[in-house]
Assembly symmetry: C2
């Protein structure tokens, strides 16, 4: 696919759609459209986030409003097939984040009877800030029987060691873990869904979808330019999140440094995901006073309890001992900080008259053993909010550094 | 709740958030915010759709991009409790569609220890084009045993008669039907989810959530001002949909007229919903030629097969006999037309490595017996697309006319 020499325009002509087809697609909504360029070079269009860089996009990128997250099982035993897929994915990701198709529509190397190399539902839509971020799970290195699946077991970072059991966790293995993950964030869910679907399509026979999660209404800001959004408890959350504009803090808490572990992860970051159902019907029956004491913030302003404005520094020691803000605050966790970029979800209802809704928690960090794990243990043990939460899943992934330009690919530092 | 005499500003002050809290909320993103007004009068803010009118909003309203749809079971046997709920819902819907809270945050009639009368997650968000549209299901009039539940059985419209079985349907009763439904459409999913959640909260003890569905990427246009979007098969769909700018066609095909049935439905419309899973992985392996023959359109331009532009009138008799466009075209169905405003959905994956994705079909019409039923029978029997579809659910609801101003409420024409 990445070797195709047929331009998108020529491919469509071969498939009989003709020039009117291209014009029709290009006319939609006045927006810059996918594949408007006459060759295969990704041309970043309005709203595109750069795909290449020292770090992967989608981590400190100002959090987009929609998420489609996928975890894959690798179903091949062939290292070369896996590497080829990672190269094909990289090429498709570069195209899609630039607002183009995943590949040719209508012809592969000039064969019009082949299935299209893009599924088409994002035709006419702008890039919408799409980012695609890949991660490698512990099981990619060694399977449950301890076998080195792809000759990379020696490169498995100690930071990918099994997470401890957290008090109260009764998790669903079917929506936990995974050999690979891709986080798609965009300002249009159709664009995020299109991206994951096309990566799954390209991966057919090499990977299989293990679980996916759709999310909306980012629950954290990753830039000072963004207002702090509200979670499904109706509270501002993540006010003290790590932010794009704090490069020294990012170096200390977010990006893996040389010497932290295996060299291939330098410039990368570790990702923890958790699906946390929120029992909103019970929460909604508790009083405002109780809600605010549990969170440790005022609901209206987002100010820490006892303060007047959202960004006032909380007096941590003065907050209720079991309040959420106190328990997850760096002062209560030996300075540990996370970059959070989770999303709200609603998966319908639960058959008992309640919404199946909550938070898909996403956190990036330099070392989960020193960051997510102690913070989560503190919260699992003491947080009054647990009464309203039901943890459903967990995932841990090593997200490699960013790709540079030509010839580089997702996972090159790991596989070469 | 609708009788509250405490203004939102006073309520927040009572609850101890104070003026800084209001200012904090009002500052978010520069947008007009919920409840910025100092009294209980809904003040339509930027992006608000009028709630009152001869017809309900959310039908011909230019289709917003996101959906949260809910069906409720009524759990009370008390007619007066149901009517009170409909009045409370109407007041909350008027507030929320105007960009305000569902009710007071922090105090009910000045009691700060009560649970908040709004869940808070939409604080700071603009109205986002929210519409809320109510419908009454056949079982509201008479239950499965034939009992007249609320003294309205004599008013049950013949157009709500049981739908026939459609060939190929193996439906899930748990996500079908319902006594009541509310369709929330908005340009921000957080706003649509907030609205349904608050209606469910207000209805506690009177109704219970039966099923809900989240959707994105409207799959139809209901106005000539909108570009035709694409469904998850990657095709433009609903090009020939009924549109806001066609009042004579709407009178003929969409709005119930005096004499059509019981008088209380005059100015209303009948709603059919269907969750249709699309087996996208199989579809994605079929050639472009085959896909276009099945749909009856070109994928790139959306033009009918053999034509060059999307809005070219198809030569229906020249299309493949089993093509989708031909089978659902008014010419093939004695002139029957529908107003469609469905949404794409992704509910995660199915545990077999495939996305659980498809179309949540929504169609409004003057009489389903003459419109949805014959079109669906034609499609169920002959459409080649069925190979890639799995119908999951069905719902049928009578949506009453719109409410006027003060004192009117959802269902007044039915219950008085």
């Amino acid at each position: 696919m990445s070797d195709s020499t047929v331009s998108r325009r020529r491919a469509i002509a071969l498939a009989g759609v003709g020039v009117a087809g291209v014009a029709g697609a290009a006319a939609v909504g006045g927006a810059l459209v996918r594949g408007a360029a006459a060759d295969d070079t990704p041309h970043p269009a309005e709203g595109a986030v750069a795909f290449t860089g020292a770090h992967q996009a989608g981590i400190v990128t100002p959090a987009q409003d929609r998420l489609h997250f996928v975890a894959f099982d690798v179903v091949t035993k062939d290292r070369e097939r896996l590497i080829t897929l990672l190269k094909d994915w990289t090429a498709a990701a570069a195209r899609m984040t630039a607002g183009q198709d995943a590949g040719e529509i209508g012809a592969v190397n000039g064969v019009p009877e082949a299935p299209p190399d893009d599924t088409g539902e994002a035709l006419g839509l702008p890039p919408s800030g799409l980012t695609l971020t890949i991660g490698f799970g512990p099981t990619l290195f060694r399977n449950a029987e301890g076998r080195d699946r792809f000759g990379i077991a020696a490169k498995r970072p100690p930071a990918l060691d099994d997470l401890p059991h957290f008090p109260g966790d009764m998790l669903d293995a079917g929506i936990s873990g995974g050999d690979l993950c891709v986080q798609a964030c965009a300002n249009d869910p159709q664009v995020a869904v299109h991206a994951i679907r096309n990566l799954a399509r390209i991966g057919m026979g090499v990977v299989s979808v293990r679980w996916t999660q759709l999310g909306f209404g980012r629950t954290s800001s990753t830039s000072r330019t963004q207002a702090t959004p509200r979670n499904l408890f109706g509270f501002k959350d993540g006010t003290a999140n790590l932010k794009l504009e704090e490069p020294e803090l990012l170096d200390e808490h977010l990006w893996v440094r040389a010497g932290d572990g295996p060299e291939w992860m330098t410039g990368g970051s570790y990702l923890v995901t958790r699906k946390i159902r929120m029992i909103v019907e019970t929460w909604d029956r508790s009083s405002l006073t109780e809600q605010e004491a549990i969170v440790g913030r005022h609901k209206g302003s987002g100010a820490p309890l006892g303060m007047t404005a959202e960004f006032d520094e909380p007096k941590v020691a003065a907050l209720p001992e079991t309040s959420h803000v106190r328990l997850v605050h760096p002062e209560s966790n030996a300075g540990a900080r996370l970059l959070r970029r989770g999303y709200n979800y609603v998966d319908g209802s639960d058959g008992l008259g309640r919404l199946d809704a909550g938070l898909f928690f996403i956190a990036y960090q330099r070392d989960p053993r020193k960051q997510f794990v102690p913070v989560q243990l503190n919260m699992s043990r003491h947080d009054d909010m647990n009464e309203y939460l039901k943890p459903m899943s967990i995932g841990l992934f090593a997200c490699p550094p960013g790709v540079s330009g030509t010839g580089d690919f997702w996972g090159r530092t790991l596989f070469s």
